[in-house]
Amino acid sequence: MSIQFPWITTIVLLPLLASFVIPVLPDKQGKTVRWYALGVGLVDFALMVYTAWQHYNFHSVEFQLTESYAWIPQLGLNWSVGVDGLSMPLVLLTGLVTTLSIFAGWKVKNKPRLFYFLMLVMYSAQLGVFVAKDILLFFINWELELVPVYLLIAIWGGAKRRYAATKFILYTALASIFILVVGLGMAFYGDTVTFDMEALSLKNYSLGFELLAYAGLLIAFGVKLPIFPLHTWLPDAHGEASAPVSMILAGVLLKMGGYALIRMNIEMLPSAHVYFAPAIAILGLVNIIYGALCAFGQTNLKRRLAYSSISHMGFVLLGIASFTDLGLNGAVLQMLSHGLIAASLFFLAGVTYDRTHTLMMDEMGGMGKAMPKTFALFTAGSLASLALPGMSGFVGEIMVFLGLVSSNAYNPTFKAVVIFLTAVGLILTPIYLLSMLRQVFYGTENPALTEEHQPFFDANPREIFITACLLLPIVGIGFYPNLVTQTYDAKTVQVSALLEHNLQSNATVIAQQRYPQYAEGSAAPPFSQMNSAKLLSVGNLNTLVNSDQHLM
């Protein structure tokens, strides 16, 4: 690798370093700091976009822009970062959502310096999680990110903020111990000691160890994603956090769970994934149905949205469990799409709360008349969330569905039951989202509400701008998904091929090893081969036959 500018390190560290200036920044009217923080966010986001555009190859499956420096050589800890198809889209999502949430927190009056400081620290830590190539570095970032989140909830949250924040940190900190234990176990397994993720994925673990490690990581990431029954911190945290923090929680933090599941559980422990996948599919299904039912039962606006996040993240689990490139691609797309949609909905819930000073839906009503623009934007966000075609949520979900259908990892009955029940979730989603709109915006104005806060003012240009920045990519992906799916397709194809391979070698009788050349040693199939498989089916123009179809 030739000497080049350390793009990734710059992107990750910029917000952190910039945050240290905040305490000494002169801030007379309380306006400098917020402009400063927003500026840092924008510059960093611009750097990401530039890097992705200029220095990143979307069609490669390898880690790119890698940098590795010994940090604490005594510990074997390296500052080792890089991006690939899995992390690059999520890095961009983080940049967009975090920058927008800084802009969303424009009106923070209580301790603004600390607020923006923490936002920037969190920015760096999130990026660090997505780009870390070293498992120890990953863990440090994972933990580092908890602190600002905890404080952001505990200081700027709602009435029950202390409880929510404590619950959040207890859950995630306890769960992350598993990452450390499993990570260390994997690092010291075998002859060589290494923290490098790529090297870890090449080690030959015994099946028993893999299963144990997988289970541990599943708990750690299951809390984050969240997976039923480890989800109960989420409604409290999302419900109590202020709007900008909720945006990041739902928009970025949950994706860490999904990302880490693919990065570690699948890429490093594929043989165990073969055993765990049916359970993950069922958990995904439970998330979808259970989350939707819980959401319908809520009367608090933000808690309803929080449970809808749980429901939607179930699709990520299903995609991960599908063993197909289509399903995995759908899972990644669902993460991106949910990040955008949930961020916009939580932001709009905050906009509404600013006016009504209540989150209880039964105390609202008829606000469409006073706030038509908020109403329109909220409707757009809800429709996106209920997977309306033309918006990104639909594409992610239909890809997961199709991935599951074309999967040959499960027997038809299991598949049929899972798909059927998942589709039931599609009926439940509009029920709770549309009844939310109905209770908040439709009907006649609630007299109790209007007496107190007359008159409501509609969304201001800043608020419309923030929502528009989120809705634009939502609609863009919905109209032309290729725009985004192509940026990481090579990677998801590689990962699913790895799974396919493990699935095959796992079967007791293997008539023909499908990809014999990388049965041993290399976990990464040569890309050229995947590409030729793709080209073959391009020739088959009108029929959309999946090569994995055995029914024909």
């Binding site: 074997g76 809520q298 490139d325 623009k373 009907g443 032309y480 397709d489």
Partner: protein, 675 residues
Amino acid sequence: MMELLYQYVWLIPVLPLAGAVLVGLGLVTFNQTTNQLRRGSSIFMVSLVGAAMVMSFAILWSQIEGHASYTQMTEWVVAGNFHLRVGYTIDHLAAMMLTIVTTVALLVMIYTDGYMAHDPSYVRFYVYLSLFSSSMLGLVVSPNLVQIYIFWELVGMCSYLLIGFWYERKAAAAACQKAFVTNRVGDFGLLLGILALYWTTGSFEFDVIGDRLPALIQSGSLSVGLASLFAILVFLGPVAKSAQFPLHVWLPDAMEGPTPISALIHAATMVAAGVFLIARMFPVFEGLPAVMNVIAWTGAFTAFLGATIAITQNDIKKGLAYSTMSQLGYMVMAMGVGAYSAGLFHLMTHAYFKAMLFLGSGSVIHGMESVVGHDPALAQDMRLMGGLRKYMPVTAITFLIGTLAIAGIPPFAGFWSKDEILGAAFAANPALWAIGWLTAGITAFYMFRMYISTFEGEFRGHNYAIRQQLQTKKAQHQRLDDSHDDRKNHLKFPHESPLSMVLPLVILAIPSQLIGLVGTPYANYFEAFMTSSGKVIPDLLEHLEPSDWNEFLLMAGTSVAIALLGIILALFMYLKHEIDPSAIAHRIRPLYLLSLHKWYIDDLYNAVFVQNSRRLAEQVKAVDNTVVDGLVNLTGLVTLVFGEGLKYLESGRAQLYALLIFGAVLGLALLSSMT
């Protein structure tokens, strides 16, 4: 020239979309300016739909001239070796649908200018109308099932937005949600069907599925039962969209939306999308007799159900809604008995005369509102109407034409299409024919009941006894839009609607009278066009079998006879008052109540689905709050171990604690990596 036109077909849905997006963005960003440009925005959007209509007519003409079907696709999603394409396909069916949709949409949009003239959300209404037109046009040119599903949901969304257009009205809010959720139930089936068909055949394309499914069944790798199940799942989509039993409940409630959209969406186009999808899936359904039977019986039962409920409706729009449901039942039944072109023929004739009837009812409501005020409970109730022919003659005549057309009186449009369906039904199963035939009589009866009580006799709008009774009965129905009500002093009598509303009625009256003539049994141009594939029509006409005159006269005679019977009965009951309707109602009270309460289906659904789902959600929420949360928290353990820390936290300094945790974790990390 023609090739160029076909290359630009995508403009047909995109033009109205562009209009909707531009003006919609204007509404969000420069709300006041956009709203001030009322006419400007509406003329802009109407002309875009007009342009789409011109293109559609050109396409139809070239298809009639025998142009081959045309498909254009582009990659939409690529994941690994999975490729999904979207695009458009133009064949005879698509060309016909394009023409119907654009003409009705254009006329409805012109009509809207008059109907919504005083509404503060005039521009928003046009945006939604444009958006709907775009989605509907995209639906009819869809080349595969996934794209159908995409636009299928999009038209559902537009329907949702338009039903809930007057969002201050509680009834509208409930109705739009009901419509969306009921349609989602259908879409759930449709999606499962699409997935299942993809799983078995590996394709989303109609012809490919139609080819491969029978091959799979023949080779024994797929059982007929399973294939039929998949097809029925797909059929669930049309069941919801076309308001077939048991998913019909949303359509009557959808009348809460402004009348122009009842005409466009809930009579002429969107609800017919279900029939369109059955037509598209015909190659698949055809080979599965069980599925065809289900389709036919669903249609027949819905036709009967809708007609029986329509008899007792007093709200003019609700009456028309049940009639729409019933007519859609005819179309679906036609499809089920294999009468592909007859079903589509009825779709076409119905689109025109029902759009006209709805627009006519809107004109009536518009006139009534100037007398009784903007209260749907009063303005739409036929008990307050009567004698309106004197005040609104054009509306009355066009409404009468529509009534004759739907009643099946020759030579009006509905006669030819309905007769063709009944003929086909008789050939397939006399029981189906009998239901259809009986329904035809009921249709003629309730439609004339509607016409007479609206336009004939004396004006009852000043009967305050009835008014008061209606108002107390439907107090919850009140539309609380005072900006509307205080505006003007009420007139003594209704007036004829403005030109922009009357003109579409008059234009629609032409196809309502004449369009049936393209499908007469002796020269069935329509069938020749629908069943041929790109050949010149006169050639085909020669090959058509000459129809059996005796059979035709017998069939037509019996259906006209029962229609006349229904009309005469209605005349005696409502015009001459020689038979007292309430006495009959009293005599057959259980049946009367059954009809009045819509066969109790809504009540049943409310008790079984709505209440139980709420209860379930409550229970799950309770479980989540206590059991799951409690278990995972390991309440006992956690309180023991962390109790002290928590207590400290609640009172103490959170920052410090977090730093402690962070420090501890980092220390742990360092420590463990050292060893």
